[in-house]
Structure formats: structure tokens, C-alpha cells
Symmetry: C2
């Protein structure tokens, strides 16, 4: 056979999804698996979504415009106006097939092969996958669990810039650490971009998940950033609608969106039903967001307290997203995550976590970390903590015995 | 502002969609636009699609597995077994967000930046867009309207191969010409791929649209091609479900699909509802395909006869897909298509066609050609022909008068 591409052979699998075969095997054996590995909220998708589809009464499920149904983009703008108080218009939105595609289009539009993007490690695993697809080089500056994964200082970031650096990619709040960056931190990043003429790609997929009364500061609020800020947005997490595959590339800079539209044309259109249902979601009242935020804040509290009560576990505090990235008393998070699925259960139940290695550009730095998504009810999170506590204990005994 | 990427600036807009603003303007002025520009069948999406969504009664619209719902891939395999008599299994399918994404994954999986792919001109416009996204170079061998867009001879194709050629990409039946390649032609391409160790990427999106009793021969039926054949498939055209955004990468070669799965993981999952409804579509009885084929064959007859009756118009015969690519008595298909929207109507109705320029790697070769999709009922196609007849007449008078 002809050879496969180097990029195809080299791109790492998703750390969030690569253990799926082991989870399926565990389930086939009759085990119950608590899925803490994936960022899929468990709250019901708001019923207005289904009502909108019903009401649409579609005869032909046809393509929409490549940039999205005009009324959908208007709904998006209205949502940004009314809920976020950012006065964008429909012309500032390009509808995409989830946040993933928004990021793909951002890379293709703003960056050439070989260009460098500064990211913060640990980072969202799929940035790595998409960098292989687009020929971009990711240069990571590490944030540390001992510092609650705080943004590295401007001086540290500045020192990491090279001649090829063309953008900073910030995930705020952070997937995988749950770190919420402050207005001051976002402004510092903005200043750096302005000083060095860099794009700021701000992935704000989790912006509705901010706790402890913290206000989210969007990169779109940077007055000086109107030309260089590009935001990745998605309906997935906001509305528990990951399967709709609808997101947006958002920017004040319509030149960016004009070019991105050409990539959008090359894939024809985003899903139609996701846009029709999405219009109804974007019109939900403010109470929706309060309910979601309060629900997840309680879960964070339960999980954080539970994890910290396990001997040998360290967990940074977190004020955003729905992830925690604890350090466990283990040497190999991939092996541990697999072992939990293959070799362990408690009352026939086990836990699936995402190994930390996949969230670092240098995988070995994540060997003691795992990402845990708190996308289950509190009592299940409590159960998951107990399973982890006992699992860690037995895993470490077995591994001490072997070596 | 920082500069945009070269690939973003250089990628051409879609010839099928770039005139959308003019069409919207025409509609805003109260004109009716007959859309012959886009490959969107007008038949109703079969009702089983909506029934399946209704019955699914989904609580959380969640991600599916990156490669698709296992039951969906099983339904796909069953469909290939029962309707096409090709004994593939679920492991031979990777579910994608439409055929476009299947092609993106094929390029990323099989080819490295700078690699060349042999294509036949005129070609499907989005191959050009996707080649920019993936850094692939397309090398075209021209097919000619005077030869009914027949496949160039094996010797001609062979002569176009270079050291960098790594694949042949065939669209069968052809978008945009409607040319159906015979079993002998597919075998000739297969032999060439085998001889030179090339991938054969066969885009079979329109395989259900074959007329005059012709049997479609899939590249998947090449006995020797089990390692090098990769097929692009989609539900879009087969079931009038373009907006579902569901397709598949299909191959006997599971190594290809294993690597492609990593790209699939990097974008998380294809749309959930499209898969749920899609399972029901894939289970439709053979009568569905007969009905669709017969409907479109009648339309082809009407359109072909009508176009050939217009003075100065040449139209190759066609036995597949739902496109014709006539040569018109004009010098600039972009200008003509725009003029039809901006400056012309007949009883307040006009026609939108896709300029031929966008379907050639050397755009100037398409200056006298347009692509017409026969995705309207016969009486509307007859009306469209009359509008084109009168439009061409007036356009040419106006343009002779000016120059």
C-alpha cells in the first residue's frame, strides 16, 4: 500500500477519547463507568431546542448559507448584546460546526504553516491535534499546579516569543485546569499581542462557567483588540448541546471573517438543525445561566473537597469551566486510567478519567496529573471520589508489590 | 493588525456560493430566483428521518463517538451490503461531517504538504479549497466537452504523473460534468494506482444518480484495490439531507481509518441527530433509489433537450449526478451569472447558475461554461431554460452594443 502521511502517523490520539475501547470493554463486562473523562454536561438540553425543531416542520433538510443562517447569526449577536453586554452585530459571527471548527478556521485564516502559536501548558488536547492538521507549531509556557495554574508572568511569556510567533492562544476559563484568568491577566495578554503584533485567539467555550461571583472578562472587551482578537465560541457547553455541533468564530475584525468564510464555503455548511434549535437556545433568559452556574459551582465544591481528602492528592483551586486537574500519587496517568477501566471496580462501578499526558506539549509533564470533568450529579461525584480513593490505594499497593 | 495567512488570502471563494449576496439582493428586490447553482436536491427528506428523531426522545444532545455511533456504522455497512452488494463491515466506515470532511480527513491522512494529487478538470470546486487547507497540490488533466468529458486516456494520465504524485482523486459520477465513468475506466485508474503505488480517492457522492440503466462500478469493487482505495460517501444527495452533514470515509484498509480517527477525535464528533436520522435513511427499501433515479433522469432529459435547443449552446451528454455543464455563447461566465441576478428577470424570475471558472484549476478554461444543477421540478427546469434563452440573447445584445 502507499504510505500514510507523516502528519497522520505523528498526530497523537485524543487523551479524552483514546481509552474509549477500554471503557466499552468494561461496560461489556457489566461494569458501570462514571464518565469523568469528557466535557459533556449532563444537564438536559433545554426543551426549547426540541420545540424549535418541531415547529420548524422542515420539508427538505437543506444546506444553510456557509456562514450560517442569517437569522441564526442575528440571534447570536442579540445573545452577546443582551447576556454578555458586548455590542457585536451579526456580521461579527461566522457559524461553525462546533468550537473545533472555529479553531480550525482561525488557524487556517491567521497562520501559515511553520508559524508559532504561544499556548499555556497544560492545554486543551485538541489544540495539539489541530496544530498537526494545519502545520502550526505550538510553543508552550508552563503553568504550575503549585501556583494554582496561574498565568505565567508577562515577562515569562515575552521571553517565550520567537521570530515565528504569530499568535497567543488562550483558553479562558481553562480546559483542562479550570483556571479562570482575570481581567488584568487578559489585559496583559492583550498588551503583549499589541506590542508584538500578534493575533489573540481566545477560546471562551466555558465562559458561562465562572464561580464564586467572579465576572468573566472577554478578550472581545479589549478596546485596543478590535483588530487582533478572534474568539472561539460554542453552544456545546452553554446549553448542554455538544451533539448539535454548532459554534462560532467571533471577531470585530470582519476581514478575518471574510477570509474564514472561504474555508467555510469549502465545507459547504454547518448542520441545519443545530442552527434552528440553536436560535431558541440563544434566546433563553438569564435564569438559565444562573441555574447552570450554581449547579456546577456546587459540584466543584464537592469534587474539590473530595479530591483533597484523598491521601497524596493535590488539587489546585479553580473558579471556572467544569474541570479539575489534580496531581495523583502515581507515576503514569495513562496506565492508571487504563487500570481503573480494565482491572478495578467498586460495587461493579468504576471511573474514567483523562490522563494528563495528552494535555501537555511535552507529555511526560502530565504523568502524575489527570483531568476530571464534573459532569455528574453531586452524589455520583461523591461516589467517584470514593472509587478513586480506593482505586489509588489498591493500584499503588499492586504496583509497589510488582516492582 | 497582524497579517492574514497567505493560504487564507489565496484560497478562492466557492463558485457555487460566492454569488449568494447577489441572489439575496435580487430576492430583496422581489425577484424569484431559480437556484440551479447548488447541489441540493429538492425532493422531500424521507419522513423516516423525522420519525427517528421523534422516537429517539433525547434528553441530552451529547457527543457521539468520534468515529460515529456504533449502530450508525453498522447501518452503513448493512446498507452497502444490501443495496450496493459490497460486503463491507462497520469497521470500514468512519462517520464524518458530510462528504467534505471525509475528503479533508483523506487528504490529511494520506498526503503530506507539497504532495500532488491528480484530478480531472473540470473538477469539483471544493477540492481546490480543501487543497489549500491541507497544503496539497492539485495537478489537473483536462477532459473536454467535445468528448463528452470522457476520462483522458491512461497514457495521458500517466504522462501527467510526477515524482510528487501520491494519489488520484476521481469524482464518479462527476460533479460538475455529470459524466459517469465506466467499469473499464475505473479499472484503468485502479491499474495506474497499483502500478505507481498511488492512493485512489474515489468521491462517490452521486453514485445513486446513474441513468439509462447504467450500472455504477465502485472503486471499492476493485479486487486489487483493497489497500489503496478510499471512498468519499455522503447521505446528503442520496436522501435529500444535505443539512444533516453526515457522510463517511470508507475503505477496506483499516490502517487508513485508524489514522483518520485521530483527525476525527481532534474535532470531537459528527452531528448526533444526523446520525440518528441517518440510521433510518440507510434502512430505506430499494424503491427509494429507483424513485430518485427515475425522477432525476426525466429532469436530465428535459434540461438537456432544452439547453441544446438554445442557439449557441453546446451540452455534452451525461449519465450521472444531477449536473450539466453546458458551454454558452459568452466570454465570461462570472459576469454572465452575476448579470442574470443583478440585471435580468423574466416575469420577475431569474436563474442562478455556477460560473465554470471555479471548477478548473486554471479558471480561464471555464469562462464559457456554467454548471447547472437540475434540482427543480421539470416545469421549473423548462422555465429556467426559457429564462436562460432570453437572458443569453439580451446579455449578448447588450454586450455587443457596449464593446
Amino acid at each position: 500500500m502507499p504510505s500514510l502521511s507523516l502528519r497522520g502517523l505523528e498526530v497523537p490520539p485524543s487523551p479524552i477519547r483514546k481509552l474509549v475501547p477500554y471503557a466499552n470493554q468494561a461496560k461489556a463486562q457489566g461494569k458501570r463507568v462514571l464518565h469523568l473523562n469528557i466535557g459533556q454536561p449532563d444537564l438536559p438540553t433545554p426543551s426549547v431546542y426540541w420545540e424549535a425543531l418541531q415547529k420548524a416542520d422542515i420539508r427538505v433538510l437543506d444546506y444553510t448559507e456557509s456562514g450560517g443562517i442569517p437569522a441564526f447569526r442575528e440571534a447570536y449577536a442579540r445573545f452577546y448584546n443582551e447576556i454578555y453586554h458586548i455590542p457585536l452585530g451579526p456580521q461579527h459571527f461566522l457559524t461553525t460546526t462546533g468550537g473545533s471548527e472555529a479553531l480550525l478556521f482561525a488557524f487556517l485564516t491567521l497562520l501559515s504553516p511553520g508559524d508559532e502559536v504561544l499556548i499555556i501548558d497544560p492545554t486543551y488536547a485538541n489544540y495539539i491535534g489541530l496544530s498537526y492538521a494545519t502545520g502550526i507549531h505550538l510553543r508552550a509556557v508552563e503553568s504550575f499546579i503549585t501556583e494554582d495554574f496561574a498565568l505565567p508572568s508577562p515577562a515569562t511569556l515575552e521571553a517565550a516569543l520567537t521570530e515565528r510567533t504569530r499568535a497567543i492562544l488562550l483558553c479562558n476559563p481553562s480546559n483542562p485546569t479550570g483556571k479562570l484568568y482575570s481581567e488584568a491577566e487578559v489585559r496583559a495578554i492583550g498588551s503583549l499581542c499589541q506590542k508584538y503584533n500578534l493575533w489573540l485567539i481566545s477560546d471562551e467555550s466555558y465562559r458561562d462557567y465562572c464561580y464564586d461571583g467572579q465576572r468573566f472578562f472577554s478578550a472581545l472587551e479589549l478596546e485596543e483588540g478590535k483588530d487582533f482578537v478572534v474568539v472561539i465560541d460554542t453552544l456545546s457547553k452553554r446549553y448542554s448541546a455538544c451533539g448539535a455541533r454548532i459554534g462560532a468564530l467571533v471577531s470585530w475584525n470582519t476581514d478575518v471573517l471574510q477570509v474564514a468564510l472561504k474555508w467555510a464555503q469549502a465545507r459547504l455548511a454547518p448542520p441545519t438543525l443545530g442552527q434552528i434549535g440553536g436560535m431558541a437556545l440563544l434566546a433563553l433568559p438569564p435564569e438559565h445561566y444562573t441555574y447552570v452556574r450554581e449547579t456546577f459551582q456546587r459540584r466543584r465544591d464537592v469534587l474539590l473537597e473530595g479530591l483533597r481528602s484523598i491521601p497524596g492528592v493535590t488539587c489546585a483551586s479553580s473558579q471556572g469551566a467544569f474541570y479539575l486537574m489534580p496531581e495523583l500519587p502515581i507515576e503514569d496517568s495513562d496506565d492508571f486510567a487504563k487500570w481503573m477501566l480494565e482491572c478495578f471496580d467498586m460495587h461493579n462501578t468504576t471511573v474514567m478519567v483523562a490522563p494528563g499526558t495528552g494535555f501537555f506539549t511535552q507529555p511526560e509533564k502530565g504523568k502524575r496529573l489527570v483531568r476530571i470533568a464534573y459532569v455528574l450529579e453531586e452524589n455520583l461525584l461523591e461516589q467517584a471520589v470514593e472509587i478513586l480513593r480506593v482505586g489509588l490505594n489498591i493500584y499503588n499497593r499492586e504496583h509497589t508489590a510488582i516492582f
